[in-house]
Structures are given as C-alpha cells and as structure tokens.
C-alpha cells in the first residue's frame, strides 16, 4: 500500500509531470534522430545530383532533375562486378567457416567434459583482449613465406579455426539448451559430433545467425586485410576498390557517394533484416552486466 500523501496542486500532478517529461524526451530524441539520419540522407541526395547541383548554394536537398546516371557511371569507372565477386568470396566463405568451426568448438567447451577445459576457456577469453597489431606482423610473414600473398587464402582460411568471440557467444547459447535433449540422444546411441550436428545446430539457429551476421559485416567492411594481402587490382574487394576509385578520379562527389552507397547497401539490408540478431549478440555475450 502506498502511503497517502496530501492532495497535490494541479501542476504537481503526476500525470502532468509525466507528460512533460515524456514530451521533452520525445522532442530531444526527435531532434537527435534528424542529426543521426542526416549524413545518410545527404549521401543519398548527393548521389542523385548533377555536378552543378552539388556545388549550388543554398544547398539542394531534393535533386531536380534526378541524376540516376551517376550510379552506372560511377560503377563503370571500376571493374565493379569483379570487385563485387571478390568481396563475396571474402565474405561468404568466412561466414561458412565461422559458423561451422565456432559452433563445433563451442559445443566442445559447453557440452563435452575434458580435462583442462576450464583453463583453455580462460585462455580463449584472454585472446580476445590481445590487440591485433601484436600478431599482425608474424602472421603476415607466415603468409608471405607460404606464398599466400595475392590469394584469398589469408582472408578465408583463418575463419575455419573458431574465432574466440564467436566461440564464447555460442557457448553461452549452448549452455542454455536443456541437457535432457542430449541425454536422450546419448541413450539412443548418438555421439557428441552427432548431437552437435543433429540437435544443437538446428536448435541454435538464431545464435548461428548472429555469428553469420557479425562475420559478414566484419569481412564485408574489412579494409586492413584486403589492403595487406590483395595487392593486385584483379583481387581488390569493394572496400579497396572504393579507395582506388577515389584515387583514380578527380573529386566527383556525386559519383563517389553513389559508389559508396552501393558498397554500403549489403550492410544496410542486413541491418534492417537482422536487427534482432545484433541485439541477441549483446544479450548472449552477457554484456548486460
């Protein structure tokens, strides 16, 4: 029971105060969201302007006429389909590698009893804290000794070795799957790899989707990797290609924005389709404290 208070004046009423607070919060968020959206709108708007409109003052917001031709023109300035193919190779293969290897390793850490398991799990977590620059140089030397420079191997093969963050994330998810399910399968004579493949993977689809989404976004947007290992134009990904586009052409903002927007498109699509998987990644890794 709430203690009875003296009757408040109307301006002290809870309803009014609550409306005022919510109204203020709403207004602040609304103004802020305009700020947050503006760069993207600006990008889209610029990509559809003629050269003259780009530099006109006051600023043109809605291009008239709409210069659709910026897109084909921008893309024809680079071997777009080739770069697209390279980007797909260096994104989709890692997705397959990360999902398969991380889930298998995570199963081992979550569901199989083996001596030293806890120790190695701590080591696995510790590797997440290590800045990549420390290992970057020896790994580069290794690839150059293996003659892997100017192949896609350095950007795909490592993904088949279970990334620490993904193993951690999936292990958390697997721990939440009822043990009874695997026990029942055990009694029916199913082995650990069998349980992983036939029971855990189908049940863990949302978590695996999170891993796939994270891996895709990372590899699609990765710049340092392709910059280091793909030194020939025929191997460039779209990220490197965009940089190259910029270097090859005079400042031509409308086409640069068109090309950038095309490169961003998969990220935007995945974001809108898979937003819940991002949020799930956060809840799973226990970041909520």
């Amino acid at each position: 029971m709430q203690a009875r208070r003296a009757q408040p004046f109307w301006w002290q009423s809870r309803t009014l105060r609550s409306y005022l607070t919510r109204g203020t919060v709403f207004t602040v968020l609304l103004l802020g969201s305009v700020l947050f959206l503006f760069p993207l709108i600006w990008m889209l708007s610029t990509s559809l302007k003629t050269n003259e409109q780009v530099y006109r003052v006051p600023t043109v917001w809605i291009p008239n006429p709409i210069a659709w031709e910026n897109y084909p023109r921008a893309l024809s300035r680079m071997p777009f389909l080739l770069f697209l193919r390279n980007s797909c190779i260096t994104s989709f293969i890692p997705v397959i590698g990360a999902v398969l290897s991380s889930s298998m390793v995570a199963y081992s850490f979550a569901r199989v009893q083996w001596p030293g398991r806890n120790f190695w799990f701590i080591v696995l977590i510790a590797t997440m804290m290590l800045p990549g620059q420390v290992t970057m140089i020896p790994v580069y030397v290794l690839y150059s000794k293996l003659k892997w420079i100017n192949t896609f191997l350095p950007l795909t093969v490592p993904w088949f070795f279970g990334g620490a963050f993904y193993v951690f994330l999936l292990r958390q998810f697997f721990l939440g799957i009822p043990q009874e399910l695997s026990d029942a399968a055990f009694i029916d004579g199913c082995s650990h790899p069998g349980i992983w493949w036939r029971i855990i993977i189908p049940l863990a689809k949302p978590a695996l989707a999170t891993v796939a989404v994270f891996t895709f976004l990372f590899t699609w947007n990765d710049f340092l990797g392709p910059l280091l290992y793909l030194r020939e134009e025929r191997l460039y990904t779209l990220q490197v290609g965009l940089q190259y586009f910029r270097l090859q052409n005079q400042v031509n903002w409308q086409e640069l924005m068109a090309a950038s927007l095309v490169v961003l498109m998969p990220t935007l699509v995945i974001f809108f389709l898979g937003q819940r998987y991002f949020v799930q990644g956060i809840t799973l890794t226990g970041l909520k404290g």
Partner: protein, 315 residues
C-alpha cells in the same frame, strides 16, 4: 564385486572417449591458437629486438628499436600524442552520450523502436564507404555540417584541412556511431529489476535520486565494460585515418601529421618501409599501453563498480 568394476571401466571408458572427442572438436581452435596467436606473440616479441625486412633473416640488435622509439623518433611521439588526444576525447564522450541516449530511450515514449533503429544504424556503418561519406560531410565549403552551422549564422571550422580540427573531425565521426554503445546500455537497463525502483519510490525517492542511486550503480558493470572496450578500440583507430590521409586530405598524414595515429604509423613502418622489427616493437608498446590502461580501470573499478552477488573482494 564384478558390478562395480564394470561400472568403473565403463566410467573410465567414457572419460577417455569424452576427452578425445572434446579435444578433437576443439582442435580447430587449438590449431588456430597455436598458428595465429601463440606462435605470433612469441615471434613478434622476438622480432622487436631485431632488424627484420622479411627478405633477409632477422638480425639481433637488442634494445635498439625501443631506444630509437623512445628517444629518437619524433613521429612516434606525435602518433602517440594524436592517439591519446583522440582517445581522451572519444572515450568519455561515447561512454556518457551512450548512457544519456539509452536513458532517454528507456522511457515509455511513442516510437521507441523506431528511435532505437535510427540511433543504432550509423554504428554498423563502417569501412571505406563511411570514411568517404564523412570526407564529404566535413567538406568545409559544401559539406553538410558547415551548411547546417551556417543556418545558425556560425561559420564552420575548416575540419580536415586544418591541423587543429583534423582530430576533432574524427571524434565527431566516431560519435555518429555512439548507438553501438547505447544499445549495450539499453540491454543493461532492461536487466535492472523493476522492483528496486518500486521499492525506492515507496520510500519517497524522486526520479533523479532513483536514477543516481539505483540505475547508475546497477548499470556500473555495463559502464565499466563500455569504458574498457572504448579505450581499446580508440587506441587502434586505423581505417578512417588511413582513407582520409591517403585519399582525401592528401598531405602526408593530414596537415602537420595531425592524423598520424599510432596504428597508422605502425602500418607505414611495417608495410611501407618493411621495418618489421621496428613495427613489432611498436606493437608491443601499444599492447603494454592498452594493458596498463585496462589494469588501471580494473583497479579503479573496485571503488565504483557494483556487482550483484559478487564474490568477496572483487571482479
């Protein structure tokens, strides 16, 4: 006692079978750990005491790399200063603004889901396209920001073309991605049990007191997490600076090296000049800096981070 013995054998058989399956299924990670992490750590530590250009074998030069870095390399100092400057601005701004936005968004207001999407979206945008977008947004004459500032009669700064404004430019761009931090806070806020707030309300605590006495302490592990990740991330800033420097500003490393960040300098030493030993020494210094900053945070955390049902004495 035949029964017990067969049981023991069965148990031991299961133990061995599980051990073999367990190591077998974790084998990819073990192999990857050896080849891509443990081996390279040892090698890079070794390289840091050598002169090494890949084509010829590493030559032992003792502490020479470190000596040059600390005493004879002004660029190293500049890159360290630039990075610390950037981190010093971006870490508090991200941590505080992220919390501010998450707090607002945690209120019961119409369009919450839409707002969340709008603020979160920019944080997933990264890579070269993002750097190109901001090159244009920050254009001093025709860019979005200075156009908007001119509506209020403010003459915007020259951003990337001046040494003073180059680093703040990067800070502004990074803050556009504050939604990533915000979403982590939101997850944390939703984990705070409602009954704590209700109990405090009955005790007569107003919204402001409840926020500082319940929400913030309950959220402190999340705040701590965001501080740590944001420090680590800001010390490794690379792609945006690289793209801006190589293709936009076009003056070495920004006007008067103002965009020469640590990892950018390391990258140039390693892959521009092929000084792998020198760059390895830089990588180790970076590692130590990040480690020390993280340890300091953990130390300080004892005084302000609150853990529900934490074991005695800490984290």
């Amino acid at each position: 006692m035949p029964d017990l013995r067969t049981n023991a054998i069965r148990r031991s058989a299961r133990f061995w079978r599980d051990a073999i399956t367990g190591y077998g299924m974790a084998a990819p990670w073990f192999l990857g750990f050896l080849v891509f992490t443990a081996g390279p750590i040892v090698l890079s530590f070794f390289y840091s005491f050598t002169a090494y250009q890949i084509t010829t074998p590493p030559r032992w030069i003792g502490l020479a790399n470190y000596r040059i870095l600390f005493f004879d390399d002004p660029k190293f100092r500049i890159s360290l200063y630039n990075t610390a400057y950037y981190a010093g601005l971006v870490v508090p701004l991200t941590v505080i603004n992220g919390l501010f936005l998450a707090t607002l968004m945690n209120q019961n207001i119409p369009g919450r889901a839409l707002f969340r999407t709008i603020y979160y979206l920019p944080s997933v945008i990264s890579g070269v396209a993002n750097a190109m977008l901001w090159l244009w947004v920050l254009n001093p004459r025709y860019g979005l920001i200075n156009t908007m500032l001119s509506w209020f009669g403010i003459k915007g700064p020259p951003w990337l073309s001046s040494a003073e404004w180059a680093k703040p430019s990067l800070v502004v761009m990074s803050l556009w991605g504050v939604g990533g931090t915000m979403i982590i806070y939101l997850a944390g806020l939703q984990g705070i049990p409602q009954h704590l707030h209700e109990a405090a309300e009955i005790d007569g605590a107003n919204a402001w007191q409840r926020y500082w006495r319940i929400t913030v302490p309950m959220l402190s592990p999340t705040i701590f997490f965001n501080i740590i990740t944001s420090i680590i991330g800001s010390f490794q800033v690379f792609t945006q600076a690289y793209v801006w420097v190589e293709s936009g500003v076009g003056m070495g490393a920004g006007p008067r090296d103002s965009l020469l960040f640590y990892v950018l300098y390391l990258f140039r030493r390693a892959f521009g000049e092929l000084q792998m030993g020198y760059a390895s020494a830089m990588a180790w210094i970076l590692f130590v800096i990040i480690l020390v900053l993280t340890l300091i945070q953990f130390r300080v955390a004892r005084y302000w981070v609150h853990y529900e049902s934490a074991p005695e004495g800490g984290i």
